[in-house]
């Protein structure tokens, strides 16, 4: 073969290859469809949203915040109560004036214990001026019968040898008076009513 013809054929072959290559990669659909398998129409790409669309949060249950009540200042309340001669709380006056209304039971429907309105006169044989009038009423409004009888006092009036020495030593009346009830050394006339000041 003539070398020039061979060169021409080669150039023609190269031009054809270039045309096929360019038409396959290019955007000429007509050329493509003519030369290759017709392409299916491109499907639309549907992607799920990576983040859910914003929605305001749901309202939760409403919790009411209750502030704890401030502790009662009992000293402040006690300052309003009547006082005796030495500055202690006069519980008898406070109770009679209804400045305090102590409950009779831990239960709300508890019945109060019975009160006994009985004054007992205790007269020393040699010193009748030191007569003591013991009021059961105020004592039974706070205490039950079993609180004193018969561990501290016998039922029979005058059966116990009560003396001031024993009381100040913590026996008989001194079981409460001087500890939680008024001190006997500070208020003679509260028991010995006829005693001179």
């Amino acid at each position: 073969m003539h070398p020039a013809l061979r060169l021409g054929l080669l150039a023609l072959l190269a031009a054809c290859a270039c045309f096929v290559l360019l038409s396959a990669c290019g955007s000429l659909r007509t050329t493509k469809t003519a030369l290759f398998v017709p392409l299916p129409p491109p499907k639309p790409v549907v992607r799920e949203a990576r983040r859910k669309p914003y929605a305001p949060p749901k309202a939760g249950p409403v919790v009411e915040f209750k502030e704890a009540p401030a502790p009662i200042d009992w000293s402040e309340r006690a300052a309003l109560l009547p006082r005796d001669a030495v500055g202690g709380i006069d519980w008898v006056t406070a109770l009679n004036a209804k400045a305090i209304e102590p409950k009779s039971s831990l239960a709300t429907d508890g019945e109060p214990e019975p009160e006994l309105d009985l004054d007992v006169e205790l007269v020393p044989q040699d010193t009748p001026d030191f007569k003591v009038t013991y009021p059961h009423k105020i004592h039974t409004s706070l205490l039950s019968c079993a609180s004193c009888h018969t561990e501290i006092f016998q039922m029979q009036a005058g059966a116990d040898p009560i003396t001031m020495e024993k009381i100040l030593g913590g026996e008989y009346c001194g079981r409460c008076h001087g500890k939680v009830a008024f001190d006997p050394t500070t208020a003679c006339q509260r028991c010995h009513k006829a005693m001179p000041q």
């Binding site: 502790p71 009992w74 000293s75 309340r77 006690a78 109560l81 202690g88 709380i89 519980w91 305090i100 102590p102 409950k103 009779s104 039971s105 831990l106 109060p112 214990e113 409004s141 706070l142 205490l143 039950s144 079993a146 609180s147 079981r175 409460c176 500890k179 939680v180 009830a181 001190d183």
Partner: protein, 120 residues
């Protein structure tokens, strides 16, 4: 560098302060009343935790004597073996101090009973 020294407080003021402390020291603690009971601690740790003071007056303003005596407490102070375990189990103070009738025994309430300072 020269540091100016603060003037020393006058001696008269100091002596007045000492006199005031001496006068006020024997006064009972605020809120104390006749009839309060101090329960000395019997177990270790008394130094870091003050003993409990029972204010009789607070309770007398609300309850009659026979509500507690003798069904909950014996009359004689110290006769009952009162422990925090017993109180937490609902005995003694725990009969009322449960958060319903009276304030509960919680760590927030320790100092309401275990007060520092001497009892009157």
């Amino acid at each position: 560098m020269n540091h100016a020294r603060a003037p020393a407080p006058p001696r008269r003021a100091l002596s007045w302060l000492a006199a005031l402390v001496l006068v006020l020291a024997p006064l009972p603690r605020a809120g104390a009343e006749f009839g309060d009971i101090l329960f000395p601690r019997k177990v270790a740790g008394a130094s870091e935790y003050p003993p409990a003071t029972f204010p009789h007056f607070v309770h007398r303003m609300q309850f009659k004597c026979y509500v507690c005596h003798d069904s909950i407490f014996q009359m004689k102070a110290g006769a009952d073996e009162i422990t925090m375990e017993a109180i937490s189990a609902g005995r003694f103070c725990g009969r009322c101090h449960d958060g319903k009738t009276a304030f509960a025994v919680t760590f927030e309430a320790c100092l309401r009973c275990h007060k520092s300072g001497p009892a009157p």
